[in-house]
Amino acid sequence: MIDVINLEKKFGNNKVLNGISVTINKGDIICVIGPSGSGKSTFLRCLNCMEDPTGGQIIFNGVDITDFKVDINIHRRKMGMVFQHFNLFNNKTVIQNIMLAPVYVQCQDLKKTKHKNNLIKFTNIFKSANKKKELLPITTSKAQIKQEAREQALNLLKRIGLEDKADVYPSTLSGGQKQRVAIIRSLAMNPEVILFDEPTSALDPEMVGEVLDLMKSLAQDGMTMIIVTHEMGFAKEVANRVLFIDEGLILESAAPKEFFENPKHPRLKEFLSKVL
């Protein structure tokens, strides 16, 4: 589904990624592990062009999204992202946070269809009766889109047991609650893959569990996930492939059992001996 070919990223003269190539298939759950400053977060942020790569290609569903001519917004809708610091929209309530993007995108599509229909109507005036073009079908309305998005959002909130928090502002939630809302906010766009950028690093230990549990249940649903994390236990349990990144290169890529029990690269051996 995602093919990363020779990805490079420079910040000024500082080369962070030195040619990363990896293929991610549908249903993969990939954990990315590495020391800080190794470029793992940059790698993740390059995948949806949050940082524009300075070299290489990222092929997502057959389209090279590093190309400036590609409308990145359309592809980002299929790639959810969860941040270390949650980044919920502070000026919106919880349910508005979840509904905002789906409603906006669908209303935008509706508007486009209406404009096209108006154009067809206009050109039809000048055409003979048998050549008139048919109007594009409009099946929804703004109110209906909003209604459906609201139901979907409430269902998602029910899934994490926060339906009573629908109308409060994010500033009143705890860290774990914020992160779970952030996860279902990205789920609301029905993405094909979700990128997690250290989702539990800013949480206190008590709340890490609830977020990891939600991620596990996503994994069981078959969601494709790429997770930058320091939670070795989680990586061992859930991932089907673990990547070790250091100095902007993938040094080891293996199934978790092999990765943790029989590491090959000396740098990984050293790293694991320190953290485990």
Binding site: D52, N87, S171
Partner: protein, 236 residues
């Protein structure tokens, strides 16, 4: 103090018996019209400029726009508002063959001028919003401009509301220079009353009081607005 009573009586006579109040009401209307319209135009221009100035500058077009905006800001912050009024009214607009009333010229100039100031305020407001907000908006597939409009600017406005109120108060007071191009404002109205009786003390005193009352009303309004916008924070 007897002298003072005479002065007050002269003022009341001029104000009510000789219809001075008609001009005062007109002047008050113009003062408020110029300040409010100027503020609205200023906020629109200021937001636009501030947005242009925070766009990432990889490409050529944002760079050109950015250069133009900094030029605009330094031009309007670098000259006194009286000079701008005079230049617009007596030089620029006649040269372009446009003929508009002094009040409309004042609205235009005050709008352009406060746009330059508000753009800097707005820019600091936008930069005070956590960059994660923009990232989160982009990550769910919204465009730069949509995220700006729906997420970043509402939060920025909340942060800079006290400063915007300041700007509005400054505008109200600055409008007293529009008499340079012959617009009728509060100052001109009271000046007329004073010069018709050669007695300026009381008219100017009343004028000052009207300005103070206006400013107090506005500050109260801003406070109410601030409180309602703070709903999403817990610091009330």
């Amino acid at each position: 103090m007897g002298n003072f009573e005479v002065k007050i009586n002269t003022f009341i006579e001029n104000f009510i018996t000789y219809n001075g109040y008609v001009k005062v009401i007109d002047g008050l209307k113009n003062t408020l019209l110029i300040a409010v319209s100027g503020l609205i135009i200023g906020i629109l221009i200021g937001t636009l400029i501030a947005t242009v100035r925070v766009i990432p500058k990889y490409k050529l077009l944002p760079r050109i726009l950015n250069g133009f905006c900094s030029f605009y800001v330094s031009l309007f912050r670098g000259t006194p508002i009286v000079v701008q009024l005079l230049v617009f009214y007596y030089v620029l607009l006649p040269l372009m063959g446009i003929n508009i009333t002094p009040v409309n010229v004042s609205i235009l100039v005050f709008g352009l001028n406060s746009g330059a100031y508000i753009s800097e305020t707005m820019r600091s407001g936008i930069m005070s919003v956590d960059s994660g907000q923009m990232e989160a908006g982009r990550a769910v597939g919204l465009s730069f401009s949509t995220t700006m409009m729906k997420i970043v600017i509402p939060q920025a406005v909340k942060n800079i509301l006290p400063t915007l109120g300041n700007e509005f108060i400054a505008l109200i007071k600055e409008t007293s220079v529009v008499s340079f191009v012959g617009a009728l404002d509060l100052y001109v109205a009271f000046n007329n009353i004073g010069s018709s009786s050669y007695e300026f003390m009381v008219p100017y005193l009343v004028m000052a009081m009207i300005y103070i009352v206006l400013v107090l009303i506005i500050s109260a309004g801003i406070k109410i607005m601030e409180r309602s916008l703070r709903k999403s924070d817990r610091r009330n």
